[in-house]
Amino acid sequence: MTGKTLTLRLKVWRQDGPRAAGRFEEYDLPGISVDMSFLEMLDVLNERLNADGHEPVAFEHDCREGICGSCSLMINGMAHGPQKGTATCQLHMRHYRDGDEIVIEPWRSSAFPIIKDLVVDRAPFDAIIQAGGYISAPAGSAPDANSVPIPKEASDSAMDAAQCIGCGACVAACPNGAANLFTSAKLAHLNLLPQGQAERYSRTVAMVDTMEDHFGSCTNHGECEAACPKEISIDFIALMNRDYVKAQLFNRRLAGQRR
């Protein structure tokens, strides 16, 4: 512990329920250690609100180690705050100075309605996964390791895509509220591997069509890539576009698929 503490001025979005009108509320928060994480700072705020008999701020969190994708805050106009490749829970208060004002808002998109304060409903992501984010394989005992040869490059790229934690920062950061980065990552981690080939094109169409039922469209700003806590590349969006066009324009029956 360095013992250094900060006094912060927080502006937090408070909204009592999905239909309630929201507003910013300001809090002066002294005694924040620079060693705290951003969520621990909010814990301190909530303890004080509780002690004073006020309703604590609702925010989502679970693993607090950057792997579950629950934490989702727009911090000073940046999804997950100022540090690149970092989820809110991994952001630390040492990046702030004494007296800083921090504005905290929930993700905003019509696909992600606010449930309360900073918590949004990300169910449309589940709909996209249900549409095709799986492979169909007979379940049984685990296959032998290395029984399916996979080139190192393919498995590396698939792993890069599989890093997506589904936090929704891409949608939050996109000026169009598009979910192309999320969907393309979820497609790529299957479409790049042998096990994903059989359903590659039907999966692509199903997931893209479901995505478009809920979200905006991509205009290649690149904000999603910059906001992504896992630094997933928009190269995957190009791959998705290519697969979608192939799926629509070429003979999918030859690939063993309907249509």
Binding site: S110, P175, S217, N220, E223, A226, A227, M240, V245, R259
Partner: protein, 260 residues
């Protein structure tokens, strides 16, 4: 009594081009292809206009050659009209797709779902965020430009077939010259994001060329802008003069084209 369940009627599928165009990814693909068509036109148009600097005769012959192309293989102006139809169709789908995607994006983040504090954009740039405005400026400009130098309704003295003098007379008016400069700057900004964006929409993505994509977009935009705005500037600066037609009275006449 036996009951049989009739198989659910499969929803009639629309023909694939419609299904494809209905999706946003499909629309972006169509925008990329129609954008390439437009880009091809803009490049050829700019290069052709450089003949302004050679002489009145050169550029007017070039115009005539466009009408005659490909000479004896097709009747006169048939190819020209095919090109025009393709260009108008490309422009129409480009604008339609843009408008419908804009509506889709407005639905995805309607007024009551906007951020209430200022956004801090990381990489979205001026060009990418003003595409629809630069697009509208270019669209309006295309209308004015056709009126001015194709149909001859732009207010300047117009003579069909004399591209050289029509152009010089039009650009002699400072306000019109300014309109051409501003519109072409908007076109350049539009092309800068559009050309790069086209690669993504078409799925042309490869580490070997990814760096070159942005550079390519920058160079294309720069070349088009510099070429196109040079015309009104040259006329305004007095480097290119109206050619005197009909010197039957024998007054001295400056040669047309670039003066040095």
């Amino acid at each position: 009594m036996a009951t049989a369940t009739a198989p659910a009627k499969r929803k009639r599928e629309l023909p694939w081009p419609i299904t494809f165009y209905r999706s946003a990814v499909g629309k972006k693909w169509v925008m990329a292809i129609s954008g390439v068509v437009g880009l091809g036109f803009v490049v050829v148009h700019m290069i052709g206009n450089l003949k302004l600097y050679l002489s009145r005769e050169e550029i007017n012959l070039y115009g005539e050659a466009l009408r005659e192309f490909p000479k004896h293989l097709l009747p006169r102006t048939v190819f020209l009209w095919i090109t025009r139809v393709v260009l108008v169709l490309a422009l129409a789908v480009h604008v339609h797709a843009a408008a419908s995607l804009t509506r889709m994006n407005a639905r995805a983040r309607p007024r009551n779902q906007q951020y209430q504090s200022p956004r801090d954009y990381q990489v979205a740039n001026y060009a990418s965020r003003t595409m629809r405005w630069t697009g509208i400026i270019v669209l309006l400009f295309i209308g004015f430009h056709l009126l001015d130098l194709t149909w001859g309704g732009g207010g300047a003295d117009f003579e069909r077939g004399d591209a050289y003098n029509n152009l010089v007379r039009s650009f002699d008016r400072p306000l019109v010259a300014a309109v051409y400069v501003v519109a072409n700057l908007a076109l350049g900004v539009h092309l800068f994001h559009g050309v790069w964006s086209m690669f993504q929409s078409l799925g042309v993505n490869n580490p070997r060329i990814n760096k070159a994509r942005k550079r390519f977009a920058q160079s294309v935009a720069a070349i088009i802008v510099i070429g196109n705005i040079s015309f009104p500037i040259a006329v305004q600066a007095g480097w290119v003069d109206e050619a005197c037609v009909g010197t039957e009275h024998g007054e001295p006449c400056e040669p047309s084209g670039l003066k040095f």
